[in-house]
Amino acid sequence: MNDSPLIIAGKNYSSRLIIGTGKYKSYVENAAALEASGAEIVTVAVRRVNLSDPTKERLTDHIDPKKVTFLPNTAGCFTADEALRTLRLAREAGDWKLVKLEVLADQKTLYPDMEETLAAAKILVAEGFEVMVYCSDDPVYARKLEDSGCVAIMPLGSLIGSGLGIQNPVNIRLIVEQSRVPVIVDAGVGTASDAAIAMELGVDGVLMNTAIAEAKDPVRMARAMKHAVIAGREAYLAGRMGKKKYADPSSPLAGLI
């Protein structure tokens, strides 16, 4: 069962599943789901400290950044400038260079603003960040982001938090074929089969949050996602059978009575 590890910015990961840490009922449940998922990278948000209660329970009390890679994101940023400020603060807070850039265009769809995203990516790369970038499924922009020095290209499968699954398999496949850095489907996965479908397209990993956090049993869904990502990856490496128009018996015809 040979498979190469997922390598992002020179670091090896044995899990190809990345999970978010938003929308959980509690940090305890979040930590349990993380354990069940086997993920080695979690996305985290950067927000103001609550001044009225600065000792309030913190994410880092439950998930140890020494054991799991924290991937600070720019969720909620609608301009390149906001994203840059957020990630500079994230680097100062955690002393990590690996970040997830997302610059959103529209509240209703949370669709990425690719013009702002590309502008921010170029500046971040110049400042020494290792940028994993949330992007549209446009292969042209994906190539521009890669050429600008991003360390992972992360197109959406469908809208953030929608659970609509992989709506764009052809574009995802085009991006996989052209990319020399890891391609990770980020957003859209609703259930385990969606994660498997993404992996069967040959992507290097899947990033999800809501599919696990809003499942009735998030820990169980986290485990399901772990298996789905492994299954999809194995199926991709195994190479699926060809599709046929008509039946083809599995039992030999010779020796029929």
């Binding site: 940090y27 985290v44 880092t60 950044p65 500079r88 807070a93």
Partner: protein, 66 residues
């Protein structure tokens, strides 16, 4: 003097340093970052940075997110 911290106006003694302000707010330094007037205020300089009237500070940390 008055400074704005995370969007709230706060009183601080004249010549207070950034480190003084954080201590008065009960904020531990671990995994917190500070931006002062849109520039990062590195942790190593907190005791050296003297606040000025009208400073705008953002103090952030990591929280759950997707």
């Amino acid at each position: 003097m008055r400074v704005t911290v995370n969007g709230e106006v706060r009183e601080a003694p004249d010549s207070a340093t950034l480190a003084d302000l954080l201590a008065s707010l009960g904020i531990e330094s671990a995994r917190v970052a500070v931006e002062r007037n849109l520039e990062i205020a590195p942790k190593s300089l907190w005791t050296a940075i003297t606040l000025a009237d009208g400073d705008r500070l953002e103090i952030v940390q990591f929280v759950g997110g997707g």
